[in-house]
Symmetry: C2
């Protein structure tokens, strides 16, 4: 079995911890035994392995999430990154072509597509196993998971089943209803409708045939190059709702979208995380501090307080679902990012009246990891090494560096950095027009 | 008339904005017309000038507040800083010796001692004028201000008057009662007792005679050198309660101690200060943000949110009076300080496992101001200039510096910096044992 994990989203509802590169599925906040924590995507991958579904997990995502996925999941998954953000149909099409071409899987291989962020239990993965078995037994071309609703939600699509099959597992599908109002949702539930949980199983050939009807491509390279020609449409609209041979397999256990602070805080079994002093008069309040300055919280009732280099949120749980529009009013660049080689946080960004800019970061490289050999046109950099040992490559020459050393990199000067131990440095960028894009990467691996 | 303004306190109740060097009286939060704000001490000095009481203001304070006072009040006041923190009697003694010796005032000069942080109105300063007049007319050796109580406070000392004098202004003093319980306070108020507001008037000779009884000194230098021999006792205990010739002059107008977030927020006529996005569902809440990252606040009721480089407070107004004990649990160095030459904030402090440390700051020097010519034994510094122009002195040689330049200062290397325009730089300190005290100042002015 091949699993395609869909990883997208910008996660404004979990601001400031989530941003354009750190979507909600990457927040390491869920309890993982003892003091350890894991992110939603780490949890789902662990659960797939625990259920022994497969070792072949392909994460379909955008280029901006590639680094954080390899940072959190390492080499345990394959990543197929879209050349541009379109929608779930093109993303699943690309991942399917990857499985067919790059992995040379046969067209009869069972493929399961699933989101990377539901908070679920073991029964969910047992249901996926049943879905795969339904595909193998030829019960239908497309099998989808129906989640038993727990309330008349207006956020989900509904699947109305007709009669149950003889195997006691699958139901035929009568029709789909997208995000109904609450009254209509209650009616649908009384008709035994399920939520569409975004989990689909099919044979690889089923999907590659659909792709080839849209676009005459035979290789992953071709599909990648002509990606912009694929329609910008969801898998639900383009495939599921048009399918003639489709059944739904129900799941009725724990299934939650931890997409708001209110819902997420319910699963974090702590009162505070990070450098926090809590008074005796707080109740129902969660404080998460990823800054290196302390938070003191007293007398807060049913609130979420979350701080990281992007900003500080102080919000009642009651209003936490509605912060998205407020977050859009916040103007700032991402101040914390996880990268392939480690992570960085922005310490300071100063813009002088004459357009001269400085950006001060603390960078952390993991042992053995490296920053590409690169140059910048518009900025100089000053690296002050504050912890660990590494190798620096400057104009072709490699020398060792360690804590206490200072290196100045001029405009147009080629430079790369490799960590031997955990390596930390303060980087001061000086110049005009300090944008991320001012990088010419000469070698990614050197 | 000479006014001695007493400036002390560590201000843990207004954490994080106040700390050991920035006591509550230095927070620039009070409305001062238009968008302008002023600190409590700036307000009191302005009010003294508006009332045309005197141009001679001497601030008696500790060495740690000397820089912030000159930053906020410039050359408009004189500063007498104690060699060590003792109590109000030695502080007033030192300031009185300064007036007698350094300013060569006669022993008949009227001296008024007052705290620097009451939130008052014009009548308070008119009362001070009456007190000075009482001294001049020889009504008593010592005149103190009695504040008409507004509630049975347990925080203040009480002055119980006997009969009023013929002038209709002063009352004789029957006795003093220190911080009573609430029941006793209510009884005192029914006996027309006043709060002791800490405002005293006397002739200079009255105080210098008392000092000389304690310590055989004739000059400010002697008094400074032998400061530790003066008893560590308050002016109230040592002078006021022993005085044989004393009267109290009442004041019954606005007089508030803005020493807690609850009381201070009542005088700040804004909902938010700094980079803050407020939702529509907040009420009775004040957000003050001195960080350069945004705060988003929604659904908060009757709360104080205050953030600066020292930390972040989220507290109900109801519990804001009790945060002092929580603040004592917060462990961190001061992250923002105002200095003689400008101000700095700490951006990052990293301590590696092997004891190697780095401290990253953004420094701001005001035009014309300079950092002393100095050296360090245990640390190197890297200065990346990000805004403005200045002069750097390195090993005796002066050269100009401007935004975009980088200067590395080695251990034991003499260095000084002078701003021509507003000058900003990122300073990365690298070394072991990065303490403020690792400075050898060779020249303060160069």
């Amino acid at each position: 079995m091949q699993i395609i994990l869909l990883s997208g989203g910008s996660g404004k509802r979990l601001w400031p911890l989530s941003n354009n590169t750190r979507s909600k599925q990457f927040l390491k906040l869920l309890p993982a035994g003892g003091d350890a924590t894991e992110s939603m995507v780490q949890r789902v991958v662990r659960q797939i392995r625990d259920a022994q579904l497969t070792d072949s997990i392909i994460v379909a995502t955008g280029a901006n999430q590639k680094d954080i996925i390899s940072n959190q999941l390492g080499g345990s998954v394959e990543v197929v990154s879209e050349p541009s953000r379109r929608d779930t149909f093109p993303a699943i099409a690309l991942a399917s072509m990857y499985i067919a071409d790059k992995k040379q899987c046969s067209s009869s291989e069972v493929v399961v597509v699933m989101p990377c962020d539901p908070f679920t239990e073991v029964g969910y993965f047992q249901t996926i196993e049943k879905m795969a078995s339904e595909v193998e037994h030829g019960k239908a071309d497309l099998i989808l998971m129906g989640i038993k609703p727990t309330y008349p939600s207006t956020k989900y699509g509904y699947v109305v089943p007709s009669q149950q099959h003889n195997d006691g597992i699958a139901f035929s599908v009568e029709r789909f209803t997208e995000k109904p109002d609450e009254k209509r949702a209650a009616e649908l539930i009384s008709q035994n409708a399920f939520w569409n949980g975004g989990v689909f199983a099919f044979r690889l050939g089923y999907m590659t045939d659909i792709v080839k009807q849209q676009l005459d491509v035979n290789s992953i390279i071709e599909c990648y190059d002509r990606y912009a020609e694929l329609p910008k449409i969801s898998f639900d609209y383009e495939v599921v709702e048009k399918a003639s041979s489709i059944v739904v397999v129900p799941f009725s256990g724990l299934w939650k979208d931890l997409g708001t602070w209110d819902s997420l805080s319910g699963e974090i079994k702590k009162e505070s995380i990070g450098n926090v002093v809590m008074g005796d008069n707080n109740s129902g309040t969660l404080v998460i501090n990823e800054l290196n300055i302390p938070i003191l919280c007293e007398g807060a009732k049913d609130m979420i307080i979350a701080a990281d280099p992007d900003g500080i949120l102080v919000c009642s749980k009651e209003h936490s679902e509605g912060i998205k529009s407020l977050v859009e009013q916040v103007k700032s660049r991402p101040m914390y990012e996880e990268r392939r080689w480690g992570d960085y946080k922005v310490l300071d960004h100063t813009l002088a009246d004459n357009g001269y800019e400085s950006l001060t970061k603390q960078l952390h490289l993991k042992p053995g990891c490296k920053i590409s050999y690169q140059l910048h046109h518009c900025r100089e950099e000053v690296w002050s090494f504050i912890e660990g040992e590494g190798i620096i490559k400057l104009d072709g020459e490699e020398t060792s560096v360690k804590a206490g050393q200072v290196v100045r990199i001029k405009k147009e000067q080629l430079h790369g950095l490799k960590a031997i131990t955990d390596l930390r440095l303060i980087e001061v960028q000086l110049g005009t027009n300090l944008v991320e894009e001012d990088i010419v990467r000469v070698e990614l691996d050197w």
